[in-house]
Symmetry: C2
Subunit: 248 residues, 2 copies
Amino acid sequence: MTDRSAPDRLLSVLAAFDHAHPALTLTDISRRAGLTLTTAHRLVTALTGWGALERDASGVYHVGLRLWEIAALAPRGLALRQAALPYLEDLYEATHENVQLAVRDGSEVVYTEWLSGHSAVGVHIRVGARWPLHVTGVGLALLAHSPPDVQAAYCEAPLEACTDHTLTDPQRLRRVLAEVRRTGVAVSSRQVTDDALSVAAPVRGPDGAVVAAVSVVVPYADARVPVLVPAVRLAARGISRALGWQPG
Amino acid sequence: MTDRSAPDRLLSVLAAFDHAHPALTLTDISRRAGLTLTTAHRLVTALTGWGALERDASGVYHVGLRLWEIAALAPRGLALRQAALPYLEDLYEATHENVQLAVRDGSEVVYTEWLSGHSAVGVHIRVGARWPLHVTGVGLALLAHSPPDVQAAYCEAPLEACTDHTLTDPQRLRRVLAEVRRTGVAVSSRQVTDDALSVAAPVRGPDGAVVAAVSVVVPYADARVPVLVPAVRLAARGISRALGWQPG
């Protein structure tokens, strides 16, 4: 372990926490980070003192409020979300369905916002969840507007199937992406689960580049796509305008 | 600088980012973190490689998506927020006013959620904003339910005034806190700004301890407190139940 740098060791302590492991003992951390107990203890103590971790009454560690405060400054995290939230709320009030905001990270889509009231049904998507780009509506919207080399590489790699309806044929995926660019909207029908459909539209930044995508997910059985499309497009344009984009 | 530990130096790079400084050059980071350019460069490179920071096309650094994803696991940040969000949305739909969720950090209140639609007016509170406990509704609700020694120490320290209406008399503050405990609701009237009023209620965890507070902020001039109180209390109880609290 002597070849690991000090930053690498400290960051491995933070990386020990994930959605399946949001609460860890010192032993868990040491094991998951590949550190000796002594090193893990020293680093956890530093992180706890600073507020990046918090120790509860039972001695279990959680991610701390101070790390959350700094992370809230991430332009693609809470900062984007704050510009988007009023429009996401409007979309939620108009549809009363699950509403999502997502960004692209390499070949994956990361959900950075998710609104769901008591009345919303269907797929439950977690903030921070990741999916391959080709399976979800937001992923298709983001992939369709990513640089040509990113699209080409994505279509050449194997396309994972989540259901029998997932787009796994590269030719068909290329046609769908062209259609997304033409219509300004992406529909993913039963590609993630057999009973859900999502409608997504791209969000643009000040320079017109696509920086995020917004979507609603509804049960496939009674999805009224023609009704959802204008609502989702309107929300996406509203967020784009809030970010400084001007149509033209 | 040789007496600073490796974790301290790395964390000082993260701490260089705040609401007034969400985007920094390498020189900014080195200056704000008190590090040499060489050390700052080494640490920033490690943090960027890991995804804790992101470098944009102009060479400016921002907080990265990966840090945001890990911070989303903070029980008092996004995890609390996800349990609370449906109830905050209901409160927003019922009132169409600014809705907040906040937690106590020492002698300050930290806003961890803030919903505001187009129609909401009044004070604009930022996620991650901090205020002294005695000036805001959520702060009073949290202080009233904090351990007796915390309350005693708080009331003995100087009480900062934001407006002529801010509670600065410790005797009066103690009476207000007793009233908050008796009624289950805290009202802060023109304490932060001369034109705003907030109504807040405490949120309880599974063991009955107060873990957060929820509020609405409205313009003072047409605040209908008797109408807001039941809505805010209902939202707070709904979130408490979602967290596992049972009245009894």
